[in-house]
């Protein structure tokens, strides 16, 4: 996905062949396609520093970075990107618009019912973004409920489910499309606090020149510590197995850490030996 005129024309010609190109290949085994040399399609949303597009559409962010390391280990260097709204990532995967979700999705039971996840790529926590000085003293969901504050988060984020579980009333929830809109809402004072991933919150603090601060992720409920996996269709189990095999070889290794270091990923994020997708699916 680059912005050149050539790709514009190519996509237009492709679009013009409406009848022939309209019906995309119905769930070809991903492995077959990739082995035949076709590019693998990465799907993600704009969520700095997790995954976001570069100036020419190249996949940036640490989830993309480590995915590319694993793909390289599998011998796959041919890839394309698809930038989506977060809430559209899972339906897009199921509609075969791309092949793997590298947005940095937490492994949750509700998601496991609709897709497969690779082995965990890391353990991450959530945090709240509040105005500098934390005037309303909000550090977790219970504080939000008590203070009657408006909490903003993204549609389809794990935090929506988490907030509901903690009992935050819908009247206090504000849903926007994604990370960018969350910061815009906070800047405009439309919400008193935002809840998102710790990494996302730190990024927002940086972008806002100190107008906001991040709460301590340790103040959030223990079960909001989540594992992230690479999302795949349930109909591509062979690819999943191959991916996990390759990942086991490179996780935490030199290439992995070097690729993710620029985005702030450190050894503290590594999932550890006993982390497993089955556990996450069952317990989150």
């Amino acid at each position: 996905m680059n912005f050149s005129l050539k790709s514009t024309l190519l996509s237009a010609i492709g679009g013009a062949m409406i009848l022939s190109s309209a019906l995309s290949a119905s769930a070809d085994e991903l492995s077959d396609r990739v082995n035949a040399g076709e590019p693998i399609r990465l799907g993600f949303a704009t969520a700095i520093p997790w995954a976001y597009p570069g100036d020419n559409g190249e996949p940036l962010g640490f989830v993309n970075a480590l995915t590319l390391v694993v793909l390289e280990e599998m011998g796959i260097t041919n890839y394309e990107t698809s930038v989506n709204e977060w809430a559209g990532l899972i339906p897009g995967l199921q509609a075969n618009r791309y092949d793997i979700v590298t947005g940095g999705m937490y492994i949750l039971k509700s998601r496991c019912e609709n897709m497969n996840f690779s082995d965990p790529i890391g353990l991450f926590g959530d945090a709240m973004l509040v105005p500098a000085g934390n005037p309303k003293g909000i550090n977790n969901y219970q504080d939000v409920i008590k203070s009657g504050a408006t909490l903003v988060t993204g549609a389809g984020f794990n935090t929506v489910e988490a907030a509901k579980k903690e009992g935050v009333p819908e009247s206090q929830m504000m849903l926007v499309a994604g990370e960018v809109e969350i910061l815009a809402a906070m800047k405009a004072g439309r919400a008193d606090a935002a809840v998102q991933t710790f990494f996302g919150a730190k990024e927002h603090v940086e972008k806002s020149d100190g107008a906001f601060e991040v709460t301590d992720p340790a103040d959030m409920p223990k079960w909001t510590q989540n594992w992230v996996g690479i999302g795949m269709r349930k109909s591509d189990p062979d690819f999943l197995a191959a991916f996990n095999e390759a990942m086991a070889k490179v996780i935490g290794g030199e290439k992995w850490m070097a690729a993710t270091a620029p985005y702030g990923y450190t050894e503290f994020q590594l999932p550890g030996e006993d982390a497993s997708t089955e556990y996450a699916c069952a317990n989150r």
């Binding site: 549609a155 504000m174 849903l175 815009a184 809402a185 800047k187 405009a188 004072g189």
Partner: protein, 223 residues
């Protein structure tokens, strides 16, 4: 994928509540548009040519650019200048301004549709400007403006889903949220389409009836 009726009934309350929001958004937006349209039209008929020119250019600019971009502009830029508006207010004002420019054109066309002779007769009879407008011009301009005004009422209603992109909790936004929460898109999106249909079709028919009634009251037959 199978349609699940149990899921449909489950989400219906939330969808209906959102429909109320949508109707309110459309209603308030339209009121703003009606008033803004009037101001913009009058702003093109001032005795100062520079003012007329500027207002005209502003109207053309807003009319020729997408509402979606305008919404994003207001949503992201206003806070950067210290103007803090809730998503609702920002959305209402933007949609009101956008459709206000359309309505100003409708009003302009309606005023120009009143025969020049009417204006001249008023001048000859020494009516004040206010009286001219109130008793002679506006009653004749109104039926001409009515179809356009009616169209844009339905149009504003159908453009409210754009407000979802800036976080306003209307119908489309709720459908998106439900889809993201439950991973079922079939029922929410189909229901949204259906709800729009059952609101806009009767409204359009009602408007056509209203136009016919106004024409008959004016003594013009339609068919």
């Amino acid at each position: 994928m199978e349609w699940r009726w149990d899921f449909t009934w489950e989400i219906l309350p939330r969808m209906l509540w959102a429909t109320g929001n949508t109707l309110m958004a459309a209603g308030v937006g339209y009121l703003i548009a009606v008033i803004v349209g009037l101001l913009l039209m009058l702003g093109q008929r001032t005795p100062y040519r520079l003012v007329n020119f500027i207002v005209r250019e502003v109207v053309e600019f807003i009319r020729s650019t997408p509402l979606l971009v305008q919404l994003f502009f207001v949503f992201f830029v206003a806070p950067q200048f210290g103007i803090k508006l809730s998503a609702w207010t920002a959305g209402m004002l933007t949609i009101g301004l956008h459709f206000g420019t359309y309505l100003s054109e409708v009003y302009r066309g309606a005023l120009e549709g009143v025969p020049k002779a009417q204006w001249e007769a008023c001048r000859a009879l020494n009516f004040t400007t206010a009286y001219t407008y109130r008793k002679i011009v506006l009653p004749q301009a109104f039926p001409i403006a009515l179809p356009g005004m009616g169209n844009y009422l339905v149009g504003i209603f159908k453009d409210t889903p754009l407000l979802a992109t800036i976080g306003v909790a209307e119908l489309m936004h709720t459908a998106n949220a439900l889809g993201a929460e439950t991973y079922r898109y079939l029922e929410p999106y189909t229901m949204v389409g259906f709800i729009f249909l059952i609101i806009s079709l009767p409204t359009a028919m009602g408007l056509r009836r209203l136009e016919a009634a106004v024409d008959r009251a004016q003594g013009k037959t339609r068919y």
